[in-house]
Amino acid sequence: MGRVHKYDRDNIDTDVIIPGPYLKIHDHKELAKHAMEGIDPTFPEKVSQGDFLVTGSNFGCGSSREHAPIALAQVGIKAIIAPSFARIFYRNAVDGGYLLPIEIDEQTVKKISDKDELKIELAQNRIINITKNDQYPIKPFPELIAKIVDAGGLMNYRP
């Protein structure tokens, strides 16, 4: 269970998720201090462990920096819920075992509000909105990706 932080715009890119000057930092806690700095510098204070980020489409576009999912996971984000993701962000999130990229349709994004309490039930492929007493379908992970998610990341996965 966690709360929603909603940033309703498309194409949130890695330069605003974690700006270039921080790329030299590899300490996860230090990176977390700058998560989403280009969009909302107060973001790290707002998030609690297990919260969700709900955004527009093509989340995480731009660079291949794994710093982006690391910083978001480290502040406490458990899953990002969006209509689509940029491909490297998506695979970094899954392969690093940092957080879940959850795909939903654009209509569902509209139904979720900032601060809603959600629960994700992966086995049922659905999101429960506790605040609104509603539920929404999520796009199932392809088979291999589901296995990597289960393993907790690519490094722990054995083909």
Binding site: D15, L23, K24, N58, R65, E66, M155
Partner: protein, 427 residues
């Protein structure tokens, strides 16, 4: 049954399959892998975590297929970046990786420039790099895709990685290139048309008479910016131009791959190059395009000629043609993309032209392209740049602005201090 595209064929060969179709998810063997001073320390951290768990890592899969660059934070911007570079050196020494292009030790430069300058990747190969613009090298007729550092660590240990086979969008660029048009104008126009997620998860393949007639370096500009459309890879079939370029750089053998004549493309787009205008992407998206002439009143603070996209030898030549014998009106920075290119530019007299025009010439580095160091933008500053991205804060302060354009447009704009079509400054 329809045939396969070059991307499908390279992936199938690397996966050991007869044939693959879009959306198949497979593990493929990797031919070449690259990491740099941003992704490298991440990889080293992953190795370190395994060693903490008691796993002894004494060798990697194949040190001869790995190369390492120092480009984002060189010359070291501070102590942290100096230590990152030291970490890389320790790692390459420990694992016997000989191709480590060190800053200040012979050839070095931006990873996506060395990949072609040093013929690190050959036609038909499957290449992955710890950087999103790894797509660039697809212009050599290879499958080239960017990955994060966990994936690169996995490749270093296992020599393989998973891919979902992409659908292919085919871009046919036809006609004779007008003298004021560069590959940058073509790719900006395409991104403007299909959007920054227009090729998400897909392959972008380029063909047509205009692409055939482009030089190798210009082709690399097309594939470089496929990343800005969300593409998994950009690719151009190798031909006589590719072979000639490689002959000057390597004796290595390779097996070029081309699409079947009846290959199936998910969409085909056709462009007439004669109809293109010198094009600029306005802040804050590479897809936010307009003609340079629409922005004639936009006042600038800086012109930047640098990066893997826009500081190859030909980029410098085109800029120098425009700047020759004239003076820049705004501060102008030129950073050749590799040491070898810098030296060729000196021999051709290009560096003298830049300096006599009043520009500063810096060492090869990513530096300001990603807002890291060596000339970042201050609050409210406006820059025109040969780079590939202009998201908020990309080149410095979150309230700075970057316009993306070809080296010709950037050079012309440097002379007037406003965004300028190159046709409006040439004699």
């Amino acid at each position: 049954m329809a045939g396969s595209t070059i991307t499908e064929k390279i992936l199938a060969r690397a996966a050991g399959k007869q044939r693959l179709y879009p959306n198949d998810v497979v593990f493929t063997k990797v031919d070449k892998v690259m990491m740099h001073d941003v992704s490298g320390p991440g990889v080293i951290k992953v190795f370190g975590e395994w060693e903490k768990k008691g796993v002894k890592l004494e060798r990697i899969w194949d040190p001869d297929r790995v190369w390492v660059t120092e480009d984002h934070f060189v010359p070291a911007s501070d102590r942290v970046s100096a230590e990152n570079v030291n970490m890389l050196s320790n790692f390459t020494r420990k694992f016997g990786i000989n191709k480590h292009f060190k800053y200040g030790l012979g050839q070095y430069g931006i990873c996506h420039t060395l990949s072609h300058e040093e013929a690190m990747v050959l036609p038909g190969e499957l290449y992955v790099g710890g950087d999103s613009h790894t797509n660039t090298t697809g212009a050599m007729g290879a499958f080239a895709a960017g990955l994060g550092h966990t994936d690169i660590a996995y490749v270093l240990m296992n020599g393989e990685i998973w891919f979902k086979v992409p659908e292919t969008l085919l871009f046919k660029i036809e006609g004779n290139k007008p003298p004021h048009i560069m590959a940058k104008d073509i790719i900006l126009q395409i991104i403007g048309d299909i959007g920054t997620d227009g090729a998400n998860y897909k392959a972008m393949q380029f063909s047509g008479t205009a692409v055939k007639n482009l030089t190798m370096e210009e082709r690399l500009t097309l594939t470089n910016m496929t990343t800005e459309a969300g593409a998994k890879n950009g690719i151009i079939e190798a031909d006589e131009t590719t072979f000639a370029y490689l002959r000057e750089r390597t004796d290595a053998k390779y097996a070029p791959v081309v699409s079947d004549h009846d290959a199936e493309y998910s969409e085909v787009f056709t462009y007439e190059i004669e109809k293109l205008e010198p094009t600029v992407a306005k802040p804050f998206s590479p897809g936010n395009i307009t003609a340079a002439r629409d922005l004639q009143t936009t006042e600038l603070d800086k012109a930047y000629i640098g990066s893997c996209t826009g500081a190859k030898l030909e980029d410098l030549r085109e800029a120098a043609k425009i700047l020759k014998g004239k003076k820049v009106k705004i501060r102008t920075e030129v950073l050749p993309a590799a040491q070898s290119i810098y030296m060729k530019a000196i021999k051709e007299g290009l560096i003298t032209i830049f300096m006599e025009a009043g520009a500063v010439v810096g060492p090869p580095t990513c530096g300001a392209c990603c807002g890291a160091h060596m000339g970042v933008l201050g609050k409210g500053e406006i820059c025109i740049s040969t780079t590939n991205r202009n998201f908020p804060g990309r080149m410095g302060h979150i309230e700075s602005q970057t316009y993306l354009a070809s080296p010709m447009v950037v050079a012309a704009s440097a002379l007037t201090g406003k965004i300028t079509d190159p046709r409006d400054v040439t004699n």
